[in-house]
């Protein structure tokens, strides 16, 4: 069975990116290769100049949800970008920007954080995913 886990990150809110970073970190610790394709608002969140900015939460979080997430972050969580950085250092994690989303958002590779390894299209993403699972977040 193909061990590679491929994740399409579409959503750019901090809660979804946080949840995704936990999945990536777990896979990296277990030695499973991870490939990530960044689309739309997730790609926007990886801009070098605002990766640690407040990217908001999904609407259903509400006020109570925001308070819970803020207190969990203070209690020992790390920012999703730091979890991804650590995962890349320890495991095999490849992060690609979707070329269409780059065009739509008028981004250049130099606009993106160094976590992003390159730009690719959907065909390359599917080929590299092989027979492994694909998650969409």
């Amino acid at each position: 069975m193909d061990e590679t886990i491929s994740i399409v990150l579409f959503s750019g809110t901090d809660d979804k990116l946080q949840a995704a970073s936990v999945l990536v970190g777990g896979a990296a610790a277990l030695g499973k290769p991870v490939r990530i394709l960044l689309q739309y608002w997730a790609l926007e969140a990886f801009r070098a100049d605002r990766i640690k900015a407040d990217h908001g939460l999904v609407p259903e979080a509400g006020e109570a949800g925001r308070a819970a997430i803020e207190s969990a972050a203070k209690a020992g969580g790390s920012h999703w970008s730091d979890t991804l950085r650590m995962s890349k250092e320890l495991g095999e994690v490849d992060i690609q920007a979707c070329s269409l989303s780059m065009d739509v958002l008028k981004l250049k590779p130099s606009d993106l954080d160094s976590l992003v390894d390159g730009v690719e299209g959907v065909a390359a993403f599917y080929i590299n995913a092989g027979e492994g699972q694909i998650l969409f977040i």
Partner: protein, 78 residues
């Protein structure tokens, strides 16, 4: 309980998932095959996580205990 020759202690207390297993992954790379590391964690998910991590990576669980919400794992590098 025999005295264990722990080469590295990793304190992941207060850290939430997946940081304890990431810190363990980071730590175990710094010791040699056959040597032991000790990890402390308070994340309640860490018991099942370290069991899975040990099985998946082949780094054997040598000792494991829990007291007052603190978990301790001793692992031998594969």
């Amino acid at each position: 309980m025999a005295n264990l020759d722990i080469k590295l202690k990793v304190d992941a207390s207060g850290l939430s998932c997946p940081l304890p297993i990431l810190k363990a992954t980071q730590g175990i790379k710094t010791v040699e095959s056959g040597q032991l590391i000790e990890v402390l964690a308070t994340d309640p998910g860490s018991v099942k996580d370290f069991d899975a991590w040990s099985k998946a990576t082949g780094n054997a669980m040598v000792e494991q205990d829990a007291a007052d919400g603190k978990f301790r794992f001793v692992l031998r590098r594969k």
